[in-house]
Assembly symmetry: D2
Homo-oligomer: 318 residues x 4
């Protein structure tokens, strides 16, 4: 590459890989528009074994968050318990009916999650030429996660980078280029197509679980996608892209003067749905076992009104 990667290039590429207006000025779904009904139907024809595999990390206080940016792990509190029942605190119910009930308090992006199109922006604008002033303490008035409540169902493709490279995981700072994605896909016998949900495994989450330490996972150095993938994502018409890392992108970023440039381009300009902290180990094993890296994928966000993200439990049906 001749030109240095900097904040100016990020804006140029943002212009170049923009889908603003492509699906109308009212559009709030971005690249999910690539998942047409035909593609949903075709994806439903993929399952062979009927095996269902969750790609979610457990939501609990052993999660990856360390407090950065005000994000903490889920706080689970009981409202009623079996112990209460035994202690007689529920005797007001007739007939011996007893129950347990509970609640959670959690940042919406503390675990396995989708970013809404209102999550990242720059220069005062977010996806589809909308003003960032629409995102206040009362939530996002546009591009919020509830706009995609009927998604995400489509064809999922796993690009299992460490397995392809015969390593347990990619090292921190390893950048994944478009040609790496293509090579991995080819070796996996799968072609990435318009409307695909692409799951890129780096092994970083595997490493954290193996080493029993989340140190550095949130916001620290990480393997991840190069900003050069912005073009690949745009041209391949990827519907959604997710990784097993905190922030999809390689860290340190390739743009010394710009934080998370791929988010800036792909989320804001391309309108790409990004997923993070996906737990892809079980899926990795299953795909390696049957040699099949394409499957029916679904991950429905909770339609929290005005939210800029949502925890999810993504499922792959093989």
């Amino acid at each position: 590459m001749s030109a240095p990667l900097d904040a100016r290039v990020v804006r140029e590429w943002g212009e170049r890989y923009s889908n603003w207006g492509r699906w109308g000025e009212d559009d709030q779904k971005g690249t999910l528009n690539f998942i047409t009904r035909e593609r949903v139907r075709a994806a439903c024809a993929l399952p062979r074994s009927g095996e269902v595999i969750s790609c979610a990390l457990p939501f609990d206080d052993e999660g990856p968050q360390s407090g950065i940016g005000g994000r903490h792990n889920p706080i689970h509190r009981m409202i009623a318990t079996g112990a209460d029942a035994l202690a007689g605190a529920q005797d007001f119910f007739p007939g011996g009916f007893n129950y347990a009930d509970d609640s959670v308090s959690m940042p919406l992006q503390c675990g396995t999650q989708w970013d809404a199109l209102a999550h990242v922006f720059y220069d005062g604008k977010m996806y589809n030429d909308r003003d960032v002033a629409l995102v206040t303490s009362r939530g996002a008035q546009a591009n919020s996660i509830d706009q995609i409540k009927d998604g995400v169902v489509g064809r999922g493709v796993l690009l299992d980078m460490p397995r392809f490279l015969r390593r347990p995981w990619l090292d921190d700072g390893t950048r994944i280029l478009p040609e790496d994605l293509d090579a991995c896909a080819e070796a996996s016998g799968v072609a990435v197509e318009s409307g695909d949900v692409v799951l890129v495994r780096t092994g970083m989450l595997t490493r954290c679980l193996t080493q029993k330490s989340w140190q550095g996972y949130c916001g620290g150095p990480a393997p991840g996608l190069s900003v050069h993938c912005a073009r690949w994502i745009f041209e391949r018409e990827i519907a959604a892209l997710a990784t097993d890392t905190w922030g999809v992108e390689v860290i340190p970023n390739e743009t010394p003067d710009c934080f998370q440039p791929l988010h800036m381009i792909s989320l804001r300009n391309t309108g790409l749905l990004l997923g993070e902290i996906f737990h892809l180990d079980a899926l990795s094993k299953s795909c390696a076992a049957d040699g099949n890296y394409a499957f029916l994928f679904m991950a429905a966000p909770l339609p929290i009104t005005g939210a800029v993200g949502s925890p999810i439990n993504p499922l792959a049906i093989k």
Copy 2:
């Protein structure tokens, strides 16, 4: 029926319609075991149009909760906003990167949701002969929602009672008997089979939205399933059952001396996954339009460790 319906009968029927031990003493999935891989595969073959329909109510402060039992509507709070960015509060990011972030605090059963098998119990025991002392302030050590993280994917069947009966909604107190379910299914051209996820629409939620009032929705009189459905659920081998009401069952309950007897029998003894506060109006319209009341259904719970319920965004793929 000759015998009066009372707390004693509830226990008798609990014995009669029990699946304890059916899938081993370690089982924590209950009736979801009826959804075999074959049935998942068969369900995936159902979609014709590729239309995806969400069955979730928006999660926000206009939800149905009134504070009963400590349940409140979701509290959505921003951690970072576009307004912050405009005010210069995010200038520490290089390159003009800006973002929004948020959190939610919510009872796990405040909106569209699954009950875990640890949610309802009596006489000191919950599903599969487990002690209720396992459910304390630290969560449920068994029968918790994270035990079914690989679910729920299967065949969904909508039994649209008010449409069948040509009414806008069923009146409060209307009980739905097994023969009503069968008649509705037959009129809809669908047969309920082992492993089905049965969605019963009463129209109560439609009424609340139409009248713009949740008054009485939570815990008040409601149309719903008769306790006689316990046998139907058991014999038909229903995998999961959900309604558009707060608590599935007809209220007032048919057992004056026993609260929510169907929960007591079907959830605790049969091991049935129950869903509540499903928003079935869009699905109702779609099924009426194409005459097809069976579809691929999926509703993955958030695997919150030790939780006794989970908010969900159920999807029907037609």
Copy 3:
């Protein structure tokens, strides 16, 4: 009054009754500066009986909040319970040690509370010429409640309007003028002095408790201080002022084109500490009984970093 009370007058009076710069450009305490050490000492000399009276409403789910502005009543959740202990969930502690623990989630102004000087502002500025851009999702960088962590201790004076007027409570919409305050004080045998904490009882809270309904309490019509009190507050050098209402001021406001004009003038320009939802009934009875309306008063805010308000438990020592 000849001139109409409108948004323009509010700004004029804001200029006129401003304490900006009075205690230096770094000041973040406003009128609390009137409580000199001498006045603290003098206030400590007031108690005669040693009776201590709380002026806090209980913090629980029966509080006054109705959800307006995102404010809800406190949500109290247990982390550990006696029931847990009985169920054996705490047996890991040696020697039979058992405990209970808990948490709260609450808007800082959902009950008896102080407003920080960062709570109300207009025209882009808050107290002491500070930019409102200092108040973002990360909290208030100035004029926050933790700036007054060493307060509030001083002389308290109760102006018990309904007792003075021989009524159970003032009607909604009743405005309290400076001359009303003076007449009440005189009848109570007390003179309001520089540095005083003035507690004005309207009886509205008494009425809500009596009628067992908070309907309209938050944000609805209310008895309260006239905007004309802005001058009285400024000239008398009141250190803090609190009422038993949601918002101190008479509602409907006297300025049809301006919401809460007294907050705008007195909080932002005068730098007045305002207290709300004070429960003054016990204090009212005590003062009526002994005829003594001045006392040692203390109400320490929780020093929550960057907060714009704090729940408090105000104490009067007589």
Copy 4:
């Protein structure tokens, strides 16, 4: 000491130093009963300079909690901000009124706090012969913090151990015996009397702040009171006792087979109000400067209904 300190001795001493029934079987205030009105009045006569000193640690995300026992640092979230106002999100208010609002979510014992008498118990009973089954997910039905809403106002005495011993702080594991407390008091020119609120400074919090690390502060080794102080507390008729540590007591505990024995005896049997995580550095300096270790003390708990603790902002008035 001849007898080994074990769980059996803890129960013996619990019997010996019990105040159960001393103030009636309905009593829920315990040792606060020692603060008679006369003592309140006398305490009010103590202040000489009028200086007010807060003994609270800031409540924020840099607090001492590490997640042990489900305790996290306070989570402060904004509901409305100045940035919102600038972005036009508050333009619906007439007259340019703008405001900020916020909320907190916090364990009640995550920072400077009082333990309620329902906080610690053993053998199925808590203070004044009450069953621990009274403490369930719905809160404590007795011995809760709201029972002492009219407290705590009285004479405070600082026992500044590290200053007395001419060290910056006591080492972890250092136990403080009754004779140490007496020696320190004598050297400070103060006699501990019935009804006193005794603040014992160990310097541990100073060390953590100095070293910018809370490592080990919560639940780890700590300097603190010996279990032998149980007798001293009982005989001296201490009204409340607080330290600058997480748990008052020396850790490792002197009773290998029993956790926190002083809590077991003094809180449960003696009915002692315990305070923890007090920030005593400013008070330490002030007392050293004027040589006066007795002062008017006040620390009012938030009357959260049924709570087993409360955050506080304790004030010393000198």
